[in-house]
Symmetry: C2
Subunit: 418 residues, 2 copies
């Protein structure tokens, strides 16, 4: 018999099968588990014994507050997955905020902490804030650091996922030089990974967002900067150098002189971001307002400028300003050109748009869709992110949960000691 197919392996597969049924179907009786898994009653009982011994399952009524039904005779034991058997930490370190959350193994968020980072100066201060927020959120959740089984951090820029260091992050000065994973190890002994923020957002969209039904999707983060996370066949496309999805660096602008190209450098914004990012939108609106002598819109945009907040422009368009509407149309047309490149190359099922600009809502989506239609051969579905600015932290949570499943809840791990 070849290695890896012996009866003890089958037994471990059965343990995972029963665990999966408990996690997906909630607390159940042995008889229910026999039906749900197709395994024999002795096989289910053996699996439950293993899960109990390793702390992943227990009788539901062992837990105060569970049940409460009045039963006649000896009730059949109801078994539950101990989602509190471990916890994960997911955090988003962005140019505007740090958001950290602690969740149980069922993905319930137990506690979260958020901090504005506008006033922080440089990577060192951001790191100190991250360490403090991590300590605080664990305390709030009542979870000792030792109970955290895995942690994942999202960061803008390019990330070397192998070493857990950010190699390029122009939006947080000084951040790229910090060994984030290594620093966090002073607080957490568990495995710890660092990921590109948009790659985490696409995980979150598929887990709990707009894309729960899609296997081939592109998530576009549309804010001060523009980036994309690509999922193909349910798997994240990281790229050979972990640099896939860099849609912000597309150069779709007109030629500039005989030599043409804008030169892409690693520490500036990309050509596409400069065309459609939040500050480009505000600058365009300001210029147009001045050109057309629209003092009201000019005033709104001047007030919006320091915060890169484009909401006022979209509000003005909704309120009937023809000028604001024409600016929204111009921006949507530009954005559709970049989106078209992703559609033509990838032909995804769904495109989810998130980030600050996407908060403009369905109106913006409709205009983008109209422009996109003229630029592609087939039409993907477009949708707005429903996760708001929690997408990256939720995606980090999902990534940490995936890691826990691989290391603790797989056939290789479960029942290995028996």
């Amino acid at each position: 018999m070849p290695a890896g197919t012996g009866p003890h392996v089958l037994r471990r597969i059965n343990v995972v099968t029963v665990l999966t049924a408990l996690r997906e179907g909630g607390p159940q009786r042995v008889a229910d588990l026999v039906t749900a898994t197709g395994l024999s009653r002795p096989a289910v009982s053996r699996a439950i014994d293993t899960l109990r011994a390793e702390g992943w399952a227990e009788d539901a009524d062992q837990r105060s507050g569970a049940g409460g039904e009045i039963r006649v005779g000896r009730p059949a034991a109801v078994i539950r997955f101990r989602s509190e058997a471990g916890h994960v930490l997911g955090a988003d370190v962005g140019p505007h905020k740090i958001l950290a959350m602690v969740s149980d193994l069922a993905g319930n968020v137990i506690a979260e902490r958020r901090e504005d980072t506008h006033r922080l100066r440089g990577g060192e201060e951001v790191l100190r804030a991250l360490l403090r927020i991590t300590t605080d959120v664990l305390a709030e959740a009542g979870v000792p650091a030792g109970d955290v089984l895995s942690a994942a951090i999202g960061s803008p820029g390019l990330v070397d996922t192998k070493t857990g260091t950010v190699t390029l992050a122009p939006s947080i000065p000084g951040w790229a030089s910090i060994p984030v994973a290594a620093e966090l190890r002073s607080l957490l002994a568990c495995p710890l990974s660092v990921h590109n923020d948009v790659n985490l957002a696409v995980l979150a969209e598929r887990w709990r967002g707009t894309a729960t039904e899609a296997d081939d999707l592109v998530f576009v983060q549309w804010g001060a900067r523009v980036g994309a996370g690509i999922m193909i066949d349910g798997r994240l496309l990281r790229g050979t150098n972990a640099a896939a999805g860099e849609i912000g660096f597309l150069d779709l602008a007109e030629h500039r002189g005989p030599d043409g190209p804008h030169i892409v450098t690693r520490d500036t914004m990309g050509p596409f971001e400069r065309q459609v990012g939040a500050s480009a939108i505000i600058e365009l609106a300001l210029a147009e307002a001045e050109r057309q002598g629209d003092a009201r819109l000019r005033e709104l945009m001047l007030r919006a400028r320091p915060h890169d907040d484009v909401a006022a422009l979209f509000d003005a368009a909704s309120a009937g300003s023809a000028l604001a509407e024409s600016i929204v149309d111009q921006i949507a047309a530009r954005f559709a050109r970049g989106l078209a490149a992703a559609c033509l190359l990838l032909d995804p099922e769904l495109i989810v748009i998130g980030g600050g600009v996407s908060r403009a809502g369905a109106r913006l989506l409709t205009v983008v869709e109209r422009h996109l239609r003229r630029r592609t051969l087939v039409r993907p579905r477009l949708a707005l992110s429903s996760l708001g600015d929690t997408a990256v932290a939720l995606g980090a949570t999902r990534s940490a949960l995936d890691d826990v499943e691989r290391r603790h809840l797989s056939p290789d791990a479960l029942g290995a000691s028996r």
Copy 2:
């Protein structure tokens, strides 16, 4: 024991293991197979019995001409895979030629037929030519139609791989309305599939071309038209509507008026093809030659025009014409913009460039690489296709072989009758 893991399944897996060892390692003795597979001698013998009974293996000396070595004593039987146990048909139906090849199960091409299709008018004539060439190439190979286990056809345009019909093929007028797979069924009773030509080319590059070591690659067909085949993690990216890789429709040109965009329609060439395709190159060279009063280059380009053959331009550049060189540079700069979009979104390990224009060779590659470097964050390897215009037919052959492996040489099929 769950379904699908019983001992008879293990036995079938062993049959595939032995077959794979024979196919990859060539004719071998039982003892060699024991070493190669890690299986026991009885298991190997049982597997060989099954393979013999089903016609996939035989003693090597059963075949005339095999062996020839003089041995002392009773020689141990040498077992071989019967690569002649079945055949596949792979064909490329393009705007310039039809190329069909018959191969054995080891992928050796037994016969091939090629026909210029310039003079054919419309899809019906192309179909009749394909049927005739298929009949001819099978006759030349001495393979009865019934021995063909699978056939695959490559076509330009968009293909509905489920029904085997081409839904869009502007480069062969009338071709899109022909139910190619259904028509070929009059000749071949085997499974028959139709694919986008560039998707087949990428399979061929990975099988026998420049990309045998790469799992993440983009193949760009650069000829009269421009298309890309994308492979991620060793798997072809087809897209939700089988329309991935449509790089020819990228719109990277300057804006045209306030409304900006070029409108993409399904039955014209795409904006990027119009910028860098063979005829765009010739028109640019003609215009420049006229502007600069270079009568020689103008003459060369006028002669090249009817055949979309750009070789003369690249030859002139190699021979020292500064004007030809500057045109090549302009074209390479334009091409690099499209390639940059693929790099930024996909971050592939390798980009292989094939098609008519790529025959310009290493000189062109160097210039494209120089321009690409200014437009991407990380640098993929660039290479020229080594398969010439046989890539699509070879890819069709590989696709048909894959189908044979799935249907005849997998654990589900082998030994199923025992």
